[in-house]
């Protein structure tokens, strides 16, 4: 008995080992998010990276995980997440614009809510500040597990700038920013400063000499927007404000931007988003029915953007508004309301990766990409199915067989 236990411990030890060696995951269906779905295929993982997908020769000594009935998908990605730290940490509401702030300072690697995320197959989140101010700071693109420290979890810092230009940041204290007029003015001011700052530095770097411009910490990360190193994600809703967002961030300043939420009839501006090929990131609401729209219909929001021709379409939870582990349910609900299934699955994998400019590493099951993989008991869109295994960077971070996460979730 003791010997058996010892063997079991050894096996478990091997199972949860660091991402070295070779692992082969076999699944009944593999949704690669790279344009195809493979029946009865395998994924070859080596040193935390995907080596091959499809028909795979099992190298000698490789660990083989068999899931003949299951589905494998890329790890899910949520671009609108507030649960990387403590909920009370997300709104620092001193100024209307706060480009000097970032969520990196607030990440809590031991957060229970992150543990729930992996139980729901979510492996990467853009952990952003709240919408209490117009420009609430920079978000951090991070893994939900697989590291004990902030540095180990961060995928890219900064992930994106968070802007909220309507439907929350209205500062009803009577100062500037109570109306769209003040909010737009405040946002423009920071962007103009950032653009000028970038131009000054570019000129200096090109000239190869002369006096360096004064370094301004609060504009360093804003500069990255103009260098197209990371995008701005904008909390917006209602057709007027979605359109205002498009005009300002894309047409006027030309920085990479993600239209987030896009609810309350915002889809009426979807053709304009499609025309400019901008990313839309829908949620936590998945339908528009009685707010700002009065046609008596329950409109699936993502379906509306899709029908208007928006290609880069992703879904979010706005966790904790919808719990992080229910990102896949947001996809299910979008399908219920008219979105094609493959578009919905892409919307929680490769499309958000593209929108946040990390698709070279994450978002699909393709050779060379990070081995962020989720194994599901069946079609992930069916809410009766569940996650069996979550892998980040080749490392198993959640395994149902090892002990189902009985506390599936948590409060504030």
């Amino acid at each position: 008995m003791t010997r058996l236990a010892a063997v079991a411990i050894l096996l478990l030890g091997a199972y949860f080992q660091e991402p070295s060696g070779v692992t082969v995951i076999r699944a009944g269906k593999i949704f690669t998010a790279a344009g195809n779905t493979i029946d009865d295929g395998a994924i070859l993982v080596e040193n935390g990276k995907i080596k091959a997908v499809g028909v795979v020769e099992v190298p000698a000594g490789a660990r083989v995980l068999e899931f003949p009935e299951a589905w494998a998908t890329p790890g899910l990605i949520d671009l609108h997440c507030h649960i990387g730290g403590m909920i009370r940490d997300i709104n620092d509401m001193v100024h209307p614009t706060n480009p000097e702030l970032s969520t990196r300072a607030t990440i809590d690697p031991s957060s229970e809510l992150l543990k729930d995320a992996v139980a729901g197959g979510v492996t990467t989140v853009l952990y952003i500040p709240g919408s209490g101010t117009n420009m609430s700071g920079f978000g951090t693109l991070m893994h939900t597990a697989g590291g004990a420290t902030v540095d180990e979890l961060v995928v890219r810092y900064p992930g994106a700038l968070k802007v909220a230009q309507a439907w929350n940041p209205e500062r009803f204290g009577g100062d500037l920013g109570t109306t769209r007029m003040g909010m737009w003015w405040g946002l423009r001011k920071v962007l103009e400063d950032g653009r000028r700052y970038n131009q000054e530095w570019e000129a200096f770097e090109k000239s190869g000499g002369g006096k360096a411009p004064e370094r301004r910490e609060n504009l360093e990360l804003v500069r990255g927007l103009f260098q197209r190193k990371w995008p701005v994600i904008i909390h917006t809703a209602d057709a007027r404000d979605v359109m205002g967002t498009v005009r300002m961030f894309h047409d006027e300043f030309g920085i990479p931007c993600i239209i987030s939420h896009g609810e309350f009839g915002g889809f009426r501006a979807a053709p304009e988003i499609a025309k400019r090929d901008l990313p839309a990131n829908i949620g936590p609401r998945t339908y528009d029915w009685t707010i700002m729209l009065y046609d008596g219909k329950c409109h699936g929001i993502a379906a509306k953007y899709y029908e208007a021709g928006v290609k880069n379409l992703s879904l979010n939870t706005d966790s904790p508004v919808v719990p992080e582990e229910e990102l896949i349910v947001q996809a299910s609900m979008s399908v219920r309301l008219g979105l094609p299934e493959d578009v919905a699955l892409r919307g929680v994998t490769i499309e958000p990766a593209k929108a946040v400019m990390i698709a070279d590493r994450l978002g699909s099951l393709e050779p060379g990409k990070d081995a962020d993989i989720v194994v599901w008991s069946g079609n992930p869109l069916d809410v009766r199915n569940r996650v069996l295994l979550t892998i980040i960077g080749g490392k198993v971070v959640y395994d149902e067989r090892k002990g189902r996460r009985v506390t599936f979730g948590g409060g504030w």
Binding site: Y287, W289, G300, V322, R336, V383, V406, F408
Partner: protein, 423 residues
């Protein structure tokens, strides 16, 4: 009259009567048949390709090869699923007119838009209460206000109230102080005495042994009615301590009790089962384990499955126990079967998941003699679904209340532009 009240109170169902020649002025009955669907009776399994024959407001016959009376209106539902209408054990604000107060049945608005939306989502009966809290992030605490079980009989006030009051809140037993608990116990002790005296009176009356001019004894206050099984108590008991405290009272006075908002029921399934308490589960009502506790704690997605194994009867209620149109899908009463599907994710079998939003929910509401399953003689409250009831893509095609077709997807603006499944 008294007999009628007794019938209602005891929850007995009136046997279907044969047409009587006495009433020549009566309109001839209207027969409607839903033909060819897979009928989930809930109480007697699934009948494939069966017919449900309605006679006026009631379910008349259910079976695979029924002879239909002449003039029967037939509706072909081949390939569809026929289920009893869903029953919501908690529905905040539903069917209540604005500024509602006093009795529920005096405050109903049969034309409320939410009632129509409830029908579009398959809900035909709901437990309504005045006051009551809860909302976006889950749960709802039973209020001390009046309550009733109400039908979604859109457009018809008559017969809208199924049962009022439907429950008695004993919330202060768990959330109040020592004085509250003392008062509740005293009320039960007094009521127990009163019920005994009432029984004694009735027995002596039956034996003709009453004293001259002896005044009858009436045990009619809520506590007496709880003891007589005429009323069900509701107590919100999320954690193990609250559950144990509630069960203590149940075990002492042996009354029917519904534990609401139960989160840690999975840690005490046998205790709940022994007390024969009912449970209302919100499958996704999450709570992390309290690591300071030397016992299992927090929520479990497997709660419903664990309770089922222990023989506990439970209903499923969504995170937001209301009909909402705010945009978050699958978390309120408009997606009640989706919450049930999550219980399946946690290991519950599918038939049990459907029972938890139909028959057991009706039992918890005290109206299972009338609704909750497809049985001859029961009210014709039915839904026709375009697919597997627990599939997230399934929509309601038709909803009947009291035999009346009150919702047709194809004629409603809500979901008709969505193709539905299959598709």
């Amino acid at each position: 009259m008294k007999l009628a009240i007794a019938v209602v109170l005891l929850g007995l169902q009136e046997p279907p009567k044969k047409e009587e020649a006495k009433a020549p002025a009566a309109k001839p009955p209207v027969y409607t048949a839903l033909v060819g669907g897979d009928v989930h009776t809930i109480s007697r399994g699934v009948l494939r390709g069966a017919t449900v024959l309605l006679k006026d407001q009631k379910i008349h016959r259910v079976g695979q090869a029924l002879d239909l009376p002449e003039g029967t209106i037939t509706i072909d539902v081949t390939g569809k699923r026929v289920l009893p209408g869903f029953v919501a054990v908690q529905a905040q604000g539903l069917a209540l007119a604005s500024g509602a107060g006093g009795k529920v049945s005096d405050s109903l608005d049969p034309f409320q838009e939410q009632v129509k939306i409830a029908l579009a989502c398959g809900i035909t009966s709901a437990f309504i209460e005045m006051g009551g809290s809860g909302g976006f992030f889950g749960g709802g605490t039973p209020s001390a206000g009046s309550n009733a079980v109400v039908k979604m009989s859109y457009g018809a006030l008559e017969g809208m109230t199924l049962l009022e009051p439907a429950a008695h809140s004993l919330q202060t037993w768990v959330s109040g102080g020592a004085a509250d608990r003392h008062e509740i116990r005293q009320s039960f002790v007094k009521a127990r005495d009163l019920v005994e005296r009432e029984r004694d009176f009735e027995r002596r009356r039956a034996e003709n042994k009453l004293k001259p001019n002896e005044q009858p004894v009436r045990a009619a206050d809520p506590f007496a009615r709880l003891l007589k099984g005429e009323l069900i108590a509701r107590i919100s008991a999320p954690d193990a301590d609250a559950i144990r405290r509630a069960l203590e009272l149940v075990n002492e006075f042996r009354f029917r009790c519904v534990l609401m908002d139960v989160v840690e029921g999975w840690t005490l399934p046998d205790e709940i089962g022994r007390a024969r308490a009912y449970v209302v589960v919100t499958v996704r009502n999450k709570q992390h384990a309290d690591r300071r506790m030397a016992r299992p704690s927090g929520s479990s997605i497997e709660q419903a499955a664990i309770l089922r194994k222990a023989g506990v009867k439970f209903a499923i209620s969504p995170i937001t126990p209301a009909v909402t149109t705010g945009g978050i899908a699958g978390r309120d009463l408009t997606g009640l079967p989706i919450e049930a599907a999550f219980a399946v994710r946690g290991g519950l079998d599918e038939a049990a998941a459907l029972e938890a939003i139909t028959l057991t929910a009706a039992e918890i509401c005290g109206v299972d003699a009338r609704v909750g399953s497809i049985e001859e003689g029961k009210d014709a409250d039915l839904v026709v679904l375009d697919g597997d009831p627990l599939d997230y893509r399934t929509f309601v095609d038709l909803t009947f209340v009291n035999g009346k077709l009150l919702y047709e997807k194809s004629k409603s603006s809500y979901f008709n532009h969505l193709k539905g499944k299959g598709r």
